[in-house]
Each structure stands twice: as C-alpha cells, then as structure tokens.
C-alpha cells in the first residue's frame, strides 16, 4: 500500500505547504491547461525548467515525485509507443506494414512524454504538500458561487471530505483484512488469473461490511452531535489568500507569457 503516493501528504513547512489550498488547486489545474501551449522544444524546455525549479521549493525529496510516476508508468509508456509508431511525417527511419518510426513521431512522443511527466509532477506536488481535508475545504470554497443555483455545495463538500478522510482508514482496513486472510492461507498476487480473482471475495466482502458499518456509525455519531446541514456553519480552518499566493499567480502568468512567446 505504501506505493500509493498519489494522495499521500508529506508534512512540512515550505513556501508551497503554506500556500492557500485554493491557490494550489487552481494553479495545478491552470498549469495542466497551460502546458498544452507548449509545442516546440524551446517552450517544453521552459516548462521543464520552471517545474524543476518549483519542486525543490516544497523541500520534498525528488524520490517521492519519481514514485508518483510509478502507478501511471504503463499509461505513459503506452501513449509514447502509440506516438512513436503511428505518427507519420518527416524522415522515415523504419517501416513495417502500417507501423513506422518517423522523425515527427519521435519528436511528438518526446513532447508527450515530457508533458505527461510534468503534469504528474505538478499534481503530485499538490497532493504531497496539501492535506486532503484542506483540499476539500478548497473545493467547497471554490464551489460556493454555485449555491446560488441551488447546487448543494456544503453537502458535496462534506461528502468529499468524508470520502478523503476515510481513504487511509479503508487502506488500513484492507491491510488488516489481507493479513487476516493471509494468515488463513490466501496468497494474494500469486497463481493464475482465476486463482487471483478468487482471492478478491475474502478481501472485499469483509471490506464492504466494515465500510457500511463505519458509515452507519459515523452517521449516528454526527446526528448525536447535532449535525443537520452545513448552512450558517462557521469554519475551524479559515482560508485566506496571502502574499505567497500572489507570488504563485505571478509565476504562473510569467510561465504563460513565456510559453506564448516561445511557441510556434
């Protein structure tokens, strides 16, 4: 379970940790959009340099970012291979049936590879430096205008924070259940496909039962403490933009201008 770096918060007190979670959330989305402006090696170089300059500011070891790539490694390799073999144009290096390796294909594959890695680095930066509850707060705060059109913002935010809150709990429960079934002779992750599928039942049924029990108990506990709905509630964690958030915005604007300037 320790490989699941997405969604793992690393406590710290860096400039990035202290940014308002709304800034970090919006900045990540903005970055993912703006990186599509890059379309030549100069603009990709700029994006890479900026990203690699931002990462050390978080004071989180680069190893965590590389680990963040692991779960999506297959996706990256797959996308890159498709680009290599199916893009045609430019000089042809190799050709077999409808597969061909061309200079344009290689360039595109390189660009896509860099783009995916940068996007994953940035989203890993968000999840490594922001506790999930702060993220939920940020979503609630950003969705607030939708309340005007009767969108249940507080309920959605509550669902989101409960879901996030229970991810580690359910992971712990998964480990416990796996251990209990291992002790009864189940070999998770070995044997043929059929054998592996069969190990799902003794793992998931206890997990579902526990999840439902926990949900039920949580609902009772919330009612016992007088929870009704979110309207008019004050907040324990108040979000405020600061000077750092302005700086983050400036960096992103400069990045955007740079990309527009450098792209073809």
């Amino acid at each position: 379970m320790n490989k699941m770096i997405l969604g793992r918060y690393i406590p710290g007190d860096s400039f990035i940790h202290r940014l308002d979670p709304r800034t970090k959330l919006l900045a990540t989305f903005y970055y993912i959009a703006v990186i599509f402006l890059a379309n030549n090696w100069q603009s990709y170089l700029l994006a890479t340099v900026v990203t690699l300059a931002i990462i050390p500011v978080s004071k989180v070891s680069l190893r965590f970012f590389l680990n963040g790539l692991l779960p999506v490694l297959f996706l990256i390799v797959f996308t890159v291979l498709i680009q290599v073999f199916f893009t045609t144009g430019g000089h042809v290096y190799w050709h077999w049936g409808w597969l061909s390796v061309t200079s344009l294909g290689l360039t595109n594959a390189g660009f896509i590879f860099v783009r995916l890695v940068l996007i994953i680095f940035m989203s890993t930066l968000l999840t490594l430096t922001t506790p999930s509850l702060s993220l939920a707060d940020a979503v609630e705060s950003l969705l607030k205008p939708l309340a005007k059109i009767h969108f249940p913002v507080t309920e959605v935010a509550l669902m989101l924070s409960i879901a996030l809150r229970f991810v580690p709990t359910l992971l712990d429960q998964t480990t416990k259940t796996m251990n209990a079934q291992r002790a009864r002779g189940v070999d998770f992750g070995s044997g043929g496909l059929f054998k592996q599928v069969k190990t799902i039942v003794p793992l998931f049924i206890p997990l579902f039962v526990t999840a439902f029990t926990m949900a039920d108990e949580l609902a009772t506990a919330m009612e016992a403490r007088g929870y009704r709905d979110g309207y008019g509630r004050t907040r324990f964690r108040v979000l405020r933009y600061g000077r750092g958030d302005l700086l983050a915005a400036v960096v992103l604007i400069l990045l955007t201008l740079g990309l527009i300037f450098l792209r073809n």
Partner: protein, 287 residues
C-alpha cells in the same frame, strides 16, 4: 515448535520521513508448549511482534526462526504457506475477517487453502464450531446473522480448523461481555492443557496471572522483561512506571500490605491469596 527472535528490528515505512520504529533489537524465544502472554501499553510494539510470528512482516534486520524456517530481511514472500499453517493467528476483532455465505464454509476456508479435502475440511468445521461452544445449527447460517460474540467464535473456529501448532491471539476477548470472556479464556486454557502452544496479547492482567506461564513485557519496541507471571508481578512500581497494571488480587494484596499484612511474595490469584491470608490469620489450611 519454538519461535526465536535474534536481534530483530523492524522499521515502519523505512527510508521515508514517516519512518517509525516497530521493533528495536528484540531477542526472545517463545517456547513450544508454553502459554506466553505479551503485555505492554498501546504502541509498545506488541502487534508488530505478533506479525513476525507467521512472517506477515519480515524483520528489517535480524532473523526470526519459526520451527525449522529462518526468516531474514531477504526472505522471499513465496512459499510462506507452510508457516501460515503452523502458526494460526486470531487478530483483534477477528469477526471482521468473516466473508463466506455460511459458517460452515467460512470455518472450512483455512483448511481448504492448505490443501485439506472438502470432506475433511467440513468435518473440521463441524468439530471446531462445537469446540468454540456454538450450537450445531449455526453451521448453515450466514455468519452475518450472528451476534458479535458468536461471530468472534466463528472466526476463532476458522483459525483452529487450520490445526496450527502455535495459536496466536491478539486481544481475543476485547469487546466481549464478562461471561463470554470467561468462556473464551477457559477454551484457550483447555487447548493449552491439550498441548497447544499459545501466545496471547492482552491488557487483562487477571488473565495473565490466571493462565500464562511466561510473560513478555514490551515497551518502545523492546522486550524489557521476560519471566513467569510470579516474577513479573512482584515489582508493582516498575509495572506502573511502564503504564501497566496488576492483577486485581495483587492490587488487593498490596493494599492489605499497607495495612500491616506481610507477604513474602505478592499473590496473583484468589486461591493463592486466600491460602496466604488463612495462614496469617492463624486459621487452618484453606481449602
């Protein structure tokens, strides 16, 4: 079958900022045939130690010898099957491991995984359900229709059905009512009398005094003391310093001591205390 720890250390999430010590240079032997109790406050490393007993965790350094098998940091995760059969483990709130449609299937699940034929596994299920004190008619009911205490028994029957050489129990009576607790402890005592090696993690010092013949005291990932309950419970102040308690009888004897009674060693069980008091008060031999 002995289980021997030789300079075993275990670190959680090694090489990350969240690294935490689970075990710190533990060297200890759990003897075959013994009833070993492991005590220690929450977070002292008891559960980590337990998970080394059947190689659910492998040491970060040092070796664990389980019977003939050596477990080292480089042991592969494959072929641990035979160990899991030898060391049966009842986890905390074991009822949460139940999953099958009927009690019969759930109890037979362990033996089936270890290659016992369907017929023999079913016979074991019937036998073990009776042994944990459940009526025969629960066999074909869904485990989820039973009460919490009954579910716990089904889970324990499921582990017993594996016929392990060593039975490891992690707070098996937590959350049970007093009658259920007594029955459960009596069951383990009977298994031990029949030759079963038992390792019990508990916070109930009365159970330690009544049943165990060897006690490991854990603190901050280390085994700080090992000995017979008689020795361990003599040093009342030391136990309190380690956030542990005393058996009720011993507590009572300590208070009597403050009022002028004299004991050459503190009694652990009610009969023992009664005998000592009878002698001091000049009465005849207590029966």
């Amino acid at each position: 079958m002995d289980i021997t720890f030789d300079h075993v250390s275990y670190t959680y999430q090694a090489n990350t900022p969240m690294a935490g010590v689970g075990l710190d240079d533990v060297s200890v032997t759990i003897h075959g045939g013994a009833y070993t109790a492991i005590i220690g406050h929450t977070g002292s490393g008891k559960s980590t130690l337990l998970q080394h007993l059947n190689a659910l965790l492998k040491p970060t350094s040092g070796t664990v010898r389980i019977g003939e098998r050596m477990i080292t940091p480089s042991t592969s995760n494959k072929n641990l099957h035979p160990l899991r059969k030898k060391v049966g483990m009842v986890f905390q709130f074991a009822e949460s491991q139940l999953f099958a449609a009927t009690v019969r299937e759930d109890v037979a699940f362990g033996p089936r995984n270890f290659g016992v034929s369907a017929e023999d596994a079913d016979a074991l299920a019937v036998q073990m359900v009776a042994r944990v004190g459940l009526p025969e008619d629960v066999l074909d009911r869904s485990p989820f229709d039973l009460s919490g205490g009954q579910m716990r028994r089904v889970a324990i029957a499921g582990v017993l059905a594996m016929q392990p050489e060593v039975l490891v129990l992690d707070e098996p009576t937590a959350g049970l009512d007093p009658a259920g607790r007594r029955e459960m402890m009596a069951l383990f005592a009977k298994l031990h009398a029949d030759g079963q090696t038992i390792v019990l993690v508990t916070h109930q010092m009365d159970d330690v005094a009544d049943f165990a013949d060897d006690v490991l005291v854990m603190d901050q990932g280390k085994v700080v003391r090992q000995g017979h309950p008689k020795e361990i419970f003599q040093d009342a102040q030391w136990l309190l310093d380690h956030q542990l308690g005393l058996p009720r009888t011993t507590q009572f004897a300590l208070r009597l001591q403050q009022k002028g009674f004299k004991f050459d060693h503190l009694p652990l069980t009610t009969p023992e205390l009664a005998q000592m008091l009878a002698e001091q008060l000049g009465g005849a031999r207590h029966e």
